[in-house]
Amino acid sequence: MTCPPREALGEYLDGKKESEEDQSKSYKQKEESRLKLAKLLLCGTELVTNIQVAADIREIHRRVEEEEIKRQRLEKLENEVKTSQDKFDEITVKWEEGKQRRIPQELWEMLNAQQVHCAGLIEDKNKLISELQQELKMKDDQYVKDLKKQSDDICLLLERMEEQVKNVMKTFRQELQNIEKAFEVERQELLTSNKKKWERALQAHNAKELEYLMNRIKKVEDYEKQLNKQRIWDCEEYNTIKIKLEQDVQILEQQLQQMKATYQLNQEKLEYNFQVLKKRDEESTVIKSQQKRKINRLHDVLNNLRSKYNKQVKQFQEENQSLTSDYKRLVLQFKELQKAMRHFALIDDKRFREIWLMNEEEAKDLINRAFDVDRIISTHHLGLPWMAPDFWFLKNVGPISQQQQKSATQILEEVLMEAEKEGADEDSSESETYLDLPKQVSARTTRKILMLLCDESGFLIESKLLSLLLPLEKNECYLLRLDAVFSALGIENEDDLYKLVNFFLKYQTHHSPSSQEPLDLRAEKERSLVDGKSQEKEPPPSPKLIHPNDVLKILEAFVMSLRKPRDFWVPVKLLKAVRDDSKDSEYWEALTTVIPATTLNLWDALYTALEKYHLVLTQRAELLIENSSLERQNTELQQLLQQYLDTKINSELQVPPTQVFRVPTK
C-alpha cells in the first residue's frame, strides 16, 4: 500500500519540472514581446520626436543664418552710409566750387553735373531700399513657407503619432495574441502531459486492483479449504463426545435407581417420627393455654400495680413540688437574712472602726499636744535635749484586729473575684488585693491552679451537678465545681486551700527546678515587696509549668498528707467571727500613760519657779511704764522751750536769750 503515494510524488515532481520548463517557455515569450514592444515604443517615440529635433536644428540653422545675414546687412548698410557720405561730401564740396564760378555756362554745366550726382546718390539709396524691401518680401515669403512647413511638420507629426498609436496597438494586440497563444500551447502541453500522467497512474492503479483481486480470490479459496477441514474434524469430535456422554447417562440412571430405593426407606422412617411429634405437639398446646391464662392474670395484677404506682408518683411529685417551693422560699429568706446580717456586721464594723478612729485621733491629739508642751518645756525652759518617745501604739491606726479564718469556698470566691478584677484593671490593684491574701501566693497563680484543678478533676464532681451547672455563667460554674471538688477532697478552710496551692507549687519545684529559675527570681522579688513576712523560701513557680497530667498525682499525694491532721481543724471554725478585744484596754491604757510620772513631777516644779519669775517680770514692767511717762514729759518741756526761743521777740531783744545760753539740741 505504500507504493502508490511515492509514485504519485515522483510524478508530481516530474510534473513540476515540466511545468517549470513550460513556465520558462511562456516567460521567454513574454520577455521577447516585452523587449519587442519596448523597442517599438522607443523607436516610435524617436520617430515622433525626430520631427521636433529636426525643427530644432532647422531653427538653430535659421538663427545662425539670420545672424549672418543680419551682420552682412549691417555691414552693407555701413558701407553704403560711408560711400554715400563720401558722395555727399563731394557734392557739398562742389557746391562751394560752384559759388566761385562766374561763367554761367560753366555754372550750368556744374549744376547739371551736380544734379547727375545727386540723382546717382538718390538712385543708390532707392536701390538699397528696394533691395531691403525685396529682402523683406523674401522674408515674408520665407515666413509663409515656414508656416506651411510647420503645418506640414505638424501634419507629419500627427500622422506619425497616429501611425505610431496604430502600430503600437497592433503590435500590442499581436504580442498579446502571441503570449496568449504561447500560454495556450503551454497549457495544452501541460494538459496532455498531465493526461498522460493521469492515464499512466490509472493503468498502474488498475494493475494493482487486479493484483489485489487475484490475491483475494486465492485467499478465499484457502479459507474455504480450511473451513472444510475444520468441519470434518469437528464432526468426528462431536461423535466421540456423544458416545461418552451416553455412557455417562447410563451410569447416572443406575445411580438414580439406587437413590430412589434409599429415599423410600427414609420416607417410612420419617413418617413414623412425624406421628410421634404430632402427639408431643398436642401436649405442648395444652400446656401453652394454661400458661397463657396465667399470663393474663399476672397482667391484670401488673396493671393494677402500675396505676397505683402512678398515683403515688403523682402524689410524691406534688409533695416534692410544695417542699421545693418551701425550700426555695426558705433559702431566699435565709439569703436575705444573711445579707442583712452581713450588712449589719459591716455597718457595725464600720461604726466601731469610726468610733475607734475618732477616739484614737482625739487621744493622739492630746498626746501630741502633751508631747509638744513637753518638748517646748524641755528645750526652751530647761535647755535639755528632747527625745520623742517611741511606742508601738502610737503608730497604730484603727482597731487592733486579727486575721480571721475563712472557709475554703469564701476564699475561692474572693480569689476568683479578685482574679477577675485583676483581669479587668490589670496589675494596678495588685498590691491592694494581696493584703487579703496572707500567703505568698498571688491571686492569679492561685486562680490558675484552681482552674487547672477544676478542669482536670471533673471526675470528682457528681454528674447531676454537672448537668445543673451547664446553664450557669462561667465564673459561677467554676465556683460550684471547685466547691464540689473541695468537698470531695476534704478541704474546708483557707489554710487547707493554701496548703493545696503550696503543695502544687512545691511539687512542681521538686520535679522541674532547673527550668523555672529566671521566672522564680522575678516572682519572689515581687512578693517580698508586698509582704515581708514570707517565711517559706519556696519559690512559687508559674502555674503554666504544671502539666495537666501531673495534677492527679499531686492531688493523690495531697489527699494522703491531709488525712492525718484533719481532726484538729474542726473547732477553729466556730471562733472565727469573735473579735479579740483583750488588747484594746491595754492599748487605751498605754495611751493614757504616754507621759511618765517623772516628767509630771518636773512640770510641777517648773510651774512654781515660773510663777515666781512672772512676779518679778510684772514689777519690772510697771517701772518701765513709769520711766516712759517721765521721758514724754521731758520732751514736751523741751519743745515748749524751743518754741520760746524761736519767737520774734528774741530778735527784738538786745540780748537774746539764745546767745546767753546754749540751746540743748537734744
Binding site: 519596448a38 524617436e46 520626436t49 525626430n50 529635433v53 529636426a54 530644432d56 536644428i57 531653427e59 538653430i60
Partner: protein, 502 residues
C-alpha cells in the same frame, strides 16, 4: 411651490409618519393584499384638496383596485417615493433637497438632475462625481479628467473658470462674473491653466494713465493701456490653488494680428508677481510664450524667492537672457525648486555659468531644461563641472545649445562618476566624431543612465548604436531592480553578455 411643500413631507416616509393620507397610500402601495375597509372613505377629501384641479386622475391613482381596467395592477402604479423624487428633481432649482434623503434616494435624484442647473445651487451641495461627469461631458466634447486629479467636479470648475478667464475683456466684462463664482469654486479649483488673455478693446477713449510704461510696445507713448485681467483677487480667494499656467497672448487672431495683442506689460508683471508671492500653496508656476524679458523675469523671480511651496517653474519660450538666468540661479539656492524649465530663451555662457554655480550646491533640483538656448561650450563645461558635485539632478536637457567636443569630454567624465542622472539630451549640437567616442567611453562605466538623446549631433553611427545598447542594458537593470530590489545582480550578469553581441 405649494406642491413642493406638500411633497416635502412624504419624501421621508421612513422617518416620519406625517398624515393619514401618506400612511395609507404607502400602505396601499406596498401591501396589496391587506385590505383596509375603513380607511378609503376618509382618504378622499384631503386628496382632492391637495391635488386641486387634477383630482380625477388623483382619485384614480389613490384607489387601490380599479375594477373596470383589466390591465391594471399595483405594479404599474409608481411608488410614492418615486413620485417624490421626480418632484424633487423637477423643483431642485428652487428647493434643493438632497442631504436629508436616504442614500439610495439621493442617488436617484442625482441621476435625474439636469446638468444645466445653476452653479449656485449645485456647487456646494453635490459631491457626486457622476453628476459632474455628466456636466463636463455635456459642455466639453473632450475631457481629460486625469489632468484634473481624476475629479470630475474639480475638472468642471477648473474648466469653467478657465473659460471665463479666456473670454474676459478688461474694462468691458464685469469682474463680478468671476468674483461671484469664487465662493462656489474656492474649495475645488487647484489649477488654473489659461492660454489666452484678451487685451482691452481699443476705444477712442483716452488711456487710463501714463504711470505704467509699456516696454513691450514699439515705444509709442500714446499707446492705450494694454493691461490684462488682474489675477490677484481670484488667486487670493482660491485656498487650494497649486498650479498656475498662464500665457499672455491671443489665440486664433488670424489676419487681425497686431503686436499689441501679445503684450505682457510691466503692470501685468508686477501684479502677477504680487499674486504669486501671496499664494502660499502654489506648487507649479508656468508662464510661457509671453515675451518675458530679463527685467520682467527678475521681477517675477524676486517675488518667488523663499516661496514655501513652489516646486516647478516654467518660463520657456520667452526672451530671458543672462540676467534672467542669473536670477533663476539665485532662486535655485533660495527655494525648494525641483523643476526648472528655461527652454527656448536667450541664455548664453554667462547665464549658464551662474546656473552651473547654483547647481553645484543644490540638493533639490531634479530637472533642468535649457533647450534652444545658446550656452555654447563655455556654459556646457561649467554645467558639467557642476554635475561633478551635484547629487540630485536626474534630467538634463541641453539640446540645441551649440555644444561641441570639449563639453562632451567633460560630460563623459561626469557619466563615469555620477549615479543620479537618468536622462540627458544633447540633440542638435555639434558633438563630433571624437566627442561621440568619448561619450561612449563614459557610458561604458555608467549603470544608471536610462535616456541619452544624441540625435543630429554629428556622432558616428557606430558609437550612437553602442550607446543605445548600453542604455538598453541600464534600462533592463533598472527594471530588474524595480521588480525585485533584493537580488537584482544576477539578471544583470545574465543579460550582460548579450549586449556586446547584439
Amino acid at each position: 411651490m405649494q406642491d413642493t411643500q406638500t411633497t416635502e413631507s412624504p419624501s421621508i416616509p421612513s422617518r416620519s409618519s406625517t398624515s393619514t393620507q401618506d400612511r395609507s397610500s404607502t400602505v396601499g402601495q406596498t401591501l396589496s393584499s391587506a385590505p383596509q375597509p375603513s380607511k378609503p372613505t376618509p382618504i378622499i377629501p384631503p386628496l382632492a384638496k391637495s391635488t386641486g384641479p387634477g383630482s380625477g386622475s388623483g382619485v384614480r391613482r389613490m384607489r387601490r383596485i380599479i375594477a373596470e381596467d383589466a390591465e391594471w395592477s399595483l405594479a404599474i402604479v409608481p411608488l410614492l417615493t418615486e413620485l417624490c423624487i421626480q418632484h424633487i428633481v423637477k423643483n431642485f432649482q428652487n428647493n434643493p433637497i438632497l442631504k436629508q434623503l436616504l442614500p439610495e434616494h439621493q442617488k436617484k435624484v442625482l441621476n435625474h438632475l439636469s446638468p444645466d442647473l445653476p452653479l449656485a445651487v449645485t456647487a456646494n451641495l453635490i459631491d457626486d462625481e457622476s453628476y459632474w461627469r455628466r456636466c463636463c461631458t455635456q459642455r466639453w466634447p473632450v475631457c481629460h479628467v486625469d489632468n484634473h486629479g481624476g475629479s470630475w467636479k474639480r475638472m468642471f470648475f477648473e474648466l469653467h473658470l478657465e473659460n471665463l478667464l479666456k473670454h474676459f475683456i478688461p474694462n468691458t466684462t464685469d469682474p463680478a462674473v468671476i468674483l461671484n463664482l469664487l465662493p462656489l469654486c474656492r474649495n475645488y479649483v487647484r489649477a488654473i491653466r489659461v492660454d489666452q488673455f484678451l487685451p482691452p478693446v481699443q476705444l477712442p477713449a483716452p488711456p487710463r494713465g501714463g504711470d505704467q510704461s509699456d516696454s513691450g510696445s514699439e515705444g509709442e507713448m500714446e499707446e492705450p493701456a494694454m493691461d490684462h485681467y488682474q489675477l490677484d483677487n481670484l488667486v487670493a480667494g482660491l485656498s487650494h490653488l497649486e498650479e498656475l499656467d498662464l500665457v499672455y497672448g491671443v489665440k486664433d487672431c488670424g489676419m487681425n494680428f497686431e503686436w499689441n495683442l501679445f503684450l505682457f506689460t510691466y503692470r501685468d508683471c508686477h501684479s502677477l508677481a504680487a499674486t504669486v508671492k501671496a499664494c502660499h500653496t502654489l506648487k507649479i508656476f508656468r508662464l510661457t510664450r509671453s515675451k518675458v524679458d530679463d527685467d520682467k523675469a527678475r521681477i517675477l523671480i524676486r517675488s518667488l524667492l523663499d516661496h514655501p511651496a513652489l516646486e516647478e517653474l516654467d518660463l520657456s519660450h520667452n526672451l530671458i537672457g543672462d540676467r534672467g538666468a542669473r536670477a533663476a540661479a539665485k532662486l535655485l539656492s533660495h527655494s525648494r525648486l525641483r523643476v526648472l524649465n528655461l527652454a527656448n530663451n536667450q541664455v548664453r555662457a554667462p547665464g549658464a555659468h551662474s546656473l552651473a554655480h547654483a547647481l553645484g550646491h543644490n540638493s533639490n533640483l531634479i530637472s533642468l531644461n535649457l533647450r534652444l538656448n545658446c550656452i555654447e561650450d563655455e556654459g556646457g563645461q561649467a554645467l558639467a563641472h557642476a554635475l561633478h558635485t551635484n547629487k540630485c539632478l536626474t534630467t538634463l536637457h541641453l539640446g540645441g545649445n551649440e555644444l561641441s567636443e570639449p563639453t562632451a569630454t567633460l560630460l563623459s567624465q561626469v557619466l563615469t562618476i555620477n549615479t543620479t542622472l537618468t536622462s540627458i539630451n544633447l540633440s542638435c549640437n555639434h558633438i563630433g566624431l571624437d566627442g561621440g567616442k568619448q561619450l561612449l567611453e563614459g557610458m561604458s562605466d555608467n549603470k544608471t543612465l536610462l535616456e541619452f538623446d544624441l540625435r543630429l549631433s554629428d556622432i558616428a553611427q557606430e558609437s550612437e548604436y553602442l550607446i543605445g545598447q548600453a542604455l538598453c542594458a541600464n534600462r533592463e537593470a533598472a527594471r530588474q531592480r524595480a521588480l525585485n530590489p533584493s537580488h537584482f545582480m544576477s539578471p544583470v550578469t545574465v543579460k550582460g553578455p548579450e549586449n556586446p553581441a547584439g
